[in-house]
Symmetry: C2
Subunit: 235 residues, 2 copies
Amino acid sequence: MNVFFTKLQVRSTLGAIRHRISANRFASNKTVSDNTIRQLVSYATQAPSSFNLQPWRFLALTEWPDRHRLMKLACGQRKVVEAAVAFIVLGDLLAHSRLSDILRQSVKSGVFDESTARRIADQCNRMYADLGAQRDEAIRSASMAAMTLMLAAEAKGLVSCPLIEFDPEGVRREFHIAERYLPVMLVAVGHPASAKWQREPRLPLHQVLAFGVGWPWATESIETWKAARTSALVA
Amino acid sequence: MNVFFTKLQVRSTLGAIRHRISANRFASNKTVSDNTIRQLVSYATQAPSSFNLQPWRFLALTEWPDRHRLMKLACGQRKVVEAAVAFIVLGDLLAHSRLSDILRQSVKSGVFDESTARRIADQCNRMYADLGAQRDEAIRSASMAAMTLMLAAEAKGLVSCPLIEFDPEGVRREFHIAERYLPVMLVAVGHPASAKWQREPRLPLHQVLAFGVGWPWATESIETWKAARTSALVA
């Protein structure tokens, strides 16, 4: 029985990964409850983050006028209004300013002791003194949380689509988002439409995976790099 | 029976999200086969990416000397050598230079037609003429793929840990990685050690989720932002 359950569990988690697809259409007449939205975000926050800083923030837009305003800032992509909820996923560029609260909570829960907490705080402040490092981390963690949210949605029979074509400054202005929060992506979530579409093919595995130091693209020189860049831009 | 299966499936995908934890320890005497590594990366590539560019690349280090060299570039973090495999997850800054191949494949598979492909190509080239946009996208997509890989590992009874404290230029040099590939994070994957550790607590939901335009941190002015930044750095 145990073996059976394990096998089924394997298939179903991997099944969610295999079946998730970026939805082009949503059943626009169906809503998603605030409670479901809370659950989705609760799962999203189970993602890992550097020093447990949890820089992700989620602004959930369920009202049509809000989603309509967002659509106008997202190159008019209809998914934003057709989906039941559009999340603006933000990354807090100042997440490390909350570190002492976060560490205190971990000490209180017995995850580690006071002296470990002090060592972590030193390390973290050194690392995020750099503005570029803050920004990279905000994008990285918010993206991992967004991916987790989309798989949680899949598990709940919902469909989702990440959108990165939007005007981040416009979104910030329109929704009164403070400067410390970087709009990392939008995620539309809703019920599946009856229309079907096909999964886009993926690159063959040998083009994205290499073992050991036999990196197939290692020999590319900076000249090749520059040439590729130029040809990409003029194409 | 259908309902039962669906409920179980729901529980198990969400279960993997809830149970995954950044592993501190690995059973260092157990290996992970090349075939399993291929499967994990194959699942990782099911993540979504902008224009289906799939900018993720995975360098899998399974040999001890390779992982040992990597550990030295990752602040000596033992997880890198204790885990059975250490992935260097890269983001291709020139992913859009492969767009025509990718689009051709989609047209061939019947996902969309030639004229749609041409429209997508125009849009993509406009978007990624900007170096900053390329870099953000490389981090975003590689992070989503890494998250998917970690959940796939969880489903297969393995444990994982993302690491971002490492010297990216050193890693590039040591493993002969061409400049177009940005080291986004390391992911250690292996078998669980008998040692147990506790999940770090997450921020309460109301601190990371808001509905509509009632964004609780909207009123933060640039002055508050600057003050928070200063206090974070001097803390």
